[in-house]
Every structure is written in structure tokens, then in C-alpha cells.
């Protein structure tokens, strides 16, 4: 049974995929879908309850929450995608070269990874973002600098096992150059699991980015970002609880969708569970 077929039969994964398609579409067509300008301040309308004009109400500056949520889709998705791209651009060469070349180089890369892993969870990302100062770009740099490590480890492991396969030995005995072996034979075998891994990780990345923005480190005002919107709504919890309800739901929905699709992809591409680490 092929992986695509297995995936197509996984209802939960399809639900996840469906939600993601809708959300991406919302992001792309944000200017057409949003009823208001997401950064338009109207203090006369502040903290308004949901109404016909403002379907999800307004925030403390009278900005339309629905419009901000719709535009926030762009921020969350594009930031996470960008960070993932950076992660892949660092981890694929690091993991591949480390695994393929081996020896001292492998040793050095592995020690660097060990050192970065000595900092718990997201602490190092928080510290780097804290040193660089608040800003979405700084958060992206911080997450990229820390997050590639797990990928590099897994990629290295995969390269090590592919390297010993007979078709690689055959290619080498034919005198194929190392770079050709890496690009033609090793990378194609490594990339599809990496894509699965990346999908699984989109959810966690979106959570991390919105968490950092919630702390005030990421997106800066007036940018409509879900985590920052939650933080903005905190002081008005009693008077206007809807301020913190909808951004949280939006984050949860997107993360859930990526987790559903990621789980499905993992089961489809890796039925034996070798990627569960």
C-alpha cells in the first residue's frame, strides 16, 4: 500500500489538511475577506461586543478582531514557514555532511548539537531572542538557531543508514563522485521523511512563535499576531473576555490541523514508527 493511499484513507489527516487549505486561503485572500482594516484604530468603538458590523467584536483600540485574526493568519503561517525553511537549510547540509563524511567532522557537528541540547526546551531560543531584543525577526533568528538541532540529528541518522545500502556501494564502485552520490542518491532518500517531520513541527513552531509574541518578544504593535493579540486582551479580561477567546481558538485550530496532518503523514510514510525517536 503506497504512502499516499494510506494518507488518503486517514480521515483525521484529511480533516487536518482541509483546515490547513482553508486557513492558507484565508491568509492569501485576507484583503478580500477582512471586513475592516486590521490596524485601523477607532477609540469610539473600543471593547465592543460582537455585532453585525464587528462579528467578533473590537479590541481595546477599537480595532476589528475578526480582521486582525484574518490578517494574523498571514503572520503566523509565513513566520513559521520561513523559520522552517531556515531550519532545513541549516540542518540538511549539517546532518548530511556529518553523516556522510563521518570521522572528525561528524564528531565536531555532534558535539555542537550536544552542547545546544544542554539548554532545556526553548530556553536558549528565549535567551537569544531576549538578547537580540523584541521583534519578530529576532524571534525567527532565535528559533532557527536552536530548532535545527533535532533535524540534523535525525538526518544524520538516516544518512548513516542509507550510506551503507548496496546501491550507494554500487555507485561508489562505479567511480561516482561524492557530491553526485549525495545529491542524486542520498538526499532524495532523506528529504521525504524531513518533509513529514517539518509538517509535524509546524504546529509546535506556530505555538512557539505565538508564545514568544505573547511574552512581547515577537510581533510588535500594531502587527496583528495571535499571540500578541492574546497579550493585548489580558488587562481587559473582566470587561471583554472575547478579546482573549478568539485568538486562542485560532492558534489552537491551526496547531490542531497541523498535528492531525503530521500524525497522518507519519503513520503513512513511517508505519513502523522509526521516526518517533
Amino acid at each position: 500500500m503506497s504512502a499516499i493511499y494510506r494518507l488518503a484513507r486517514d480521515k483525521m489527516a484529511l480533516v487536518g489538511l482541509g483546515i490547513i487549505i482553508v486557513i492558507v486561503a484565508v491568509g492569501i485572500f485576507a484583503p478580500y475577506l477582512a471586513p475592516h482594516d486590521p490596524v485601523q484604530v477607532d477609540l469610539g468603538q473600543k471593547l465592543a461586543r460582537p455585532s453585525a458590523e464587528y462579528p467578533l467584536g473590537t479590541d481595546h483600540l477599537g480595532r476589528c478582531i475578526l480582521s486582525r485574526l484574518i490578517y494574523g493568519t498571514r503572520v503566523s503561517l509565513s513566520t513559521a514557514m520561513l523559520v522552517l525553511t531556515v531550519i532545513i537549510f541549516i540542518s540538511v547540509p549539517a546532518g548530511t555532511i556529518s553523516g556522510y563524511v563521518g570521522g572528525r567532522l561528524d564528531n565536531i557537528v555532534m558535539r555542537i548539537i550536544d552542547i545546544l541540547l544542554a539548554f532545556p526546551g526553548l530556553v536558549l531560543a528565549l535567551v537569544i531572542a531576549g538578547m537580540l531584543g523584541p521583534g519578530l525577526l529576532n524571534v525567527m533568528i532565535a528559533l532557527g538557531a536552536v530548532w535545527w538541532v533535532g533535524y540534523a540529528r535525525i538526518i544524520r541518522g538516516m544518512v548513516l543508514s542509507v550510506k551503507e545500502k548496496e546501491f550507494i556501494l554500487a555507485a561508489r564502485s562505479c567511480g561516482t563522485s561524492h557530491s553526485k552520490i549525495i545529491f542524486r542518491h542520498i538526499l532524495p532518500n532523506v528529504l521525504s521523511p524531513v518533509i513529514v517531520l517539518a509538517t509535524l513541527d509546524m504546529g509546535s513552531l506556530i505555538l512557539a512563535i505565538s508564545g514568544l509574541s505573547f511574552l512581547g518578544l515577537g510581533a510588535q504593535p500594531p502587527m496583528p499576531e495571535w499571540g500578541a493579540m492574546l497579550n493585548d486582551g489580558r488587562p481587559y479580561m473582566q470587561a471583554a473576555p472575547h478579546l482573549m477567546l478568539f485568538p486562542g481558538l485560532a492558534i489552537m485550530l491551526v496547531v490542531l490541523a497541523f498535528n492531525l496532518l503530521g500524525d497522518g503523514l507519519r503513520d503513512a510514510f513511517d508505519p513502523k514508527g522509526t521516526m518517533r525517536g
Binding site: 550536544d114 530556553v123 538578547m131
Partner: protein, 314 residues
């Protein structure tokens, strides 16, 4: 065993050396000249002469390796510099706040175990039944729910609306409930699923069949024979999770105004209190490394097979 421990400790030396280099290098990420930052934070106009004088005084004109050597020597004496904001030694500030963070983390772990062990066992014993589906949905929701949002919802419902728990701060047990639940919730779901999988594997083993054939009570089989072995993978995952809890504590402490290291660190970021940020990074790495070491040792004690194998291999 002793040999394994010695090797494990020996391996820590290069790692901690690397950690110290990263922490030392962090200050270079801060925008601007350190001397200028210090002058500004103490309210002195950073004229060219003042900056030059301070640079000389701080030894910032020396080669990097000499600066590192000096910094490292201070760190070994637990001198992490002084907080720009409070003027007190960073190490003292961190140590005085760590008990609060530890209290929160331990409470979160307690909550996590309280929920995940029974639900993991139930889900395994009633595979594909209602309980199992419920635990699966919960695991998915737990992994997707932003912790900071859960914290806000809990405050809104239990503190603002019902008035059962205090909104923020540290105090008695009632202060601890909401932050601990917020911190432990997501992980509880993950652990319940982990325990379920590992229980199912153990329950399929021959010795469980033998125990059943001998007519032992199901309670005894599950409680004594299966659970003990099923908990092993959970222990392994624990070291990693502790790290996630320490990272997560930063957000939870901020939401609940919990006076721990995490909140102190976040405040330091917005005050550009760089020695505190640096000290926090180093301190957390040391705590994490020690916890992982303890988990490894615990694992060796729990599983004699590993003890023998690792003793030979490592």
C-alpha cells in the same frame, strides 16, 4: 556501574565547556557596546571618554580569550556579575527565586502524574473503548492547546468568575493549583498516551501471560508486574520533559505573576538586564544537565539490563 557513572560525568566536561562558551558569547548578540549599555542603564550619559574608560575598566579591550578566561574564573566562583536593574549579584537573585520555580515545576509534575498514570492505564486496559478515544482526543487537544491561553482561560473561569482560586502571586496551596495545571496539562496528555503504548506492549509479554495463567488477580498483574515495567520509557522521557517544563515555566510565571526565575528573566529582557539573561541561560543549562544525569542514574537503577549493557558499551 561506577565505570558508567565516571564516563557519563567525564562526557559532561566538553558539553559544559561548550555551554560556557555559548553563554559568554551571548553578550555579543546584544545590540550596542556593553560599556555603553551599562552607562545608559545607570543613567550616565555615554560620552566617548566615559565609554572608553569603562571599556578599559571592564577589560573589554583585552583579547577575547582573556575576557573569556576571566569570565569563566568568575563563574567558577559563582560570580555571574551584577544585575543592572537591582545592582545585586545575579547568582543571588537567581538562587533566591529558584525555589519558587522548582515548587511550580514539581507541582506540575505531580499534577501530570496524578492525571496521566490512571488515564494511561485505563486507556490501555480498555483499548478502543470510550475511555481510550477520550484519552486520544485529550492528547491531541493537549498538544495543540497554547499553554498561555489555557492559563488565561483558567484565570478567567476559576478566579474572575467563580472566585475559587487567587488570580496571581505565590502563597498557599491555592495559589499553586492554576499555574501547576497550566504547566502540566499538555504534558499530562502526552504522558498518558506514552504510558498507554508502553502498557500495551508490556501486557503482551509472556510473563504477564504466565501471571494470568497462574490465576493472579488482574489488579496485582497490572499494578505490580505490568506498571513497573511500563513506567521505564516514561522515566526516560522525563529528563527531556523537565526541560520543557522549565521553558514553559517562563510563560506560566509571567501569566500568574509567579515570582520565579522565569518571570525574573522575562523582566530582565525588557529592562535589557544582560547579565541576568546570561546568568539565566547558564543556570538553566546546569540544572537541566544535572536533572538528566539523575534521570540516567535512576534509569540504570530501575533497569538492570541497561546497567550491564551500558557498563560494557559506554
Amino acid at each position: 556501574m561506577k565505570q558508567y557513572l565516571i564516563k557519563r560525568l567525564f562526557y559532561l566536561i566538553p558539553v559544559m565547556f561548550g555551554v560556557s562558551i555559548i553563554t559568554f558569547g551571548l553578550i555579543n548578540l546584544a545590540p550596542g557596546d556593553p560599556a555603553e549599555i551599562i552607562l545608559r542603564s545607570s543613567g550616565v550619559e555615554p560620552t566617548l571618554e566615559a565609554v572608553d574608560a569603562l571599556r578599559e575598566e571592564l577589560g573589554l579591550n583585552d583579547p577575547v580569550y582573556i575576557q573569556y578566561g576571566r569570565w569563566f574564573r568568575d563563574v567558577l566562583h559563582l560570580d555571574l556579575g551584577q544585575s543592572y536593574r537591582t545592582g545585586r549579584p545575579v547568582a543571588e537573585e537567581i538562587f533566591s527565586r529558584f525555589p519558587a520555580t522548582l515548587e511550580l515545576t514539581v507541582a506540575a509534575i505531580f499534577f501530570m502524574l496524578l492525571i496521566s498514570i490512571p488515564s494511561g492505564i485505563l486507556a490501555a486496559l480498555h483499548r478502543h473503548a470510550f475511555v481510550d478515544h477520550l484519552s486520544r482526543i485529550w492528547a491531541l487537544a493537549g498538544a495543540s492547546l497554547p499553554g498561555f491561553w489555557l492559563g488565561l482561560l483558567l484565570i478567567y473561569y476559576f478566579s474572575v468568575k467563580l472566585g475559587i482560586f487567587p488570580v496571581m502571586g505565590r502563597g498557599g496551596l491555592d495559589h499553586l493549583v492554576l499555574p501547576a495545571v497550566t504547566l502540566g496539562f499538555g504534558m499530562a496528555a502526552t504522558y498518558a498516551r506514552l504510558l498507554r503504548a508502553s502498557m500495551l506492549e508490556v501486557l503482551g509479554q509472556d510473563y504477564i501471560k504466565v501471571a494470568r495463567a497462574r490465576g493472579l488477580k488482574e489488579k496485582l498483574i497490572v499494578g505490580r508486574h505490568a506498571l513497573k515495567n511500563a513506567l521505564l520509557p516514561v522515566v526516560t522521557a522525563f529528563g527531556m520533559s523537565f526541560g520543557h517544563l522549565l521553558g514553559g515555566a517562563v510563560i506560566v510565571e509571567t501569566i500568574f505573576a509567579w515570582p520565579g526565575v522565569g518571570k525574573f528573566f522575562v523582566d530582565a529582557i525588557f529592562n535589557r538586564d544582560y547579565p541576568v539573561i546570561q546568568g539565566y541561560a547558564l543556570f538553566m543549562a546546569v540544572v537541566f544537565v544535572i536533572v538528566n544525569l539523575l534521570v540516567d542514574i535512576a534509569y540504570v537503577f530501575l533497569d538492570p539490563r541497561i546497567r550491564l549493557e551500558r557498563g560494557r558499551q559506554v
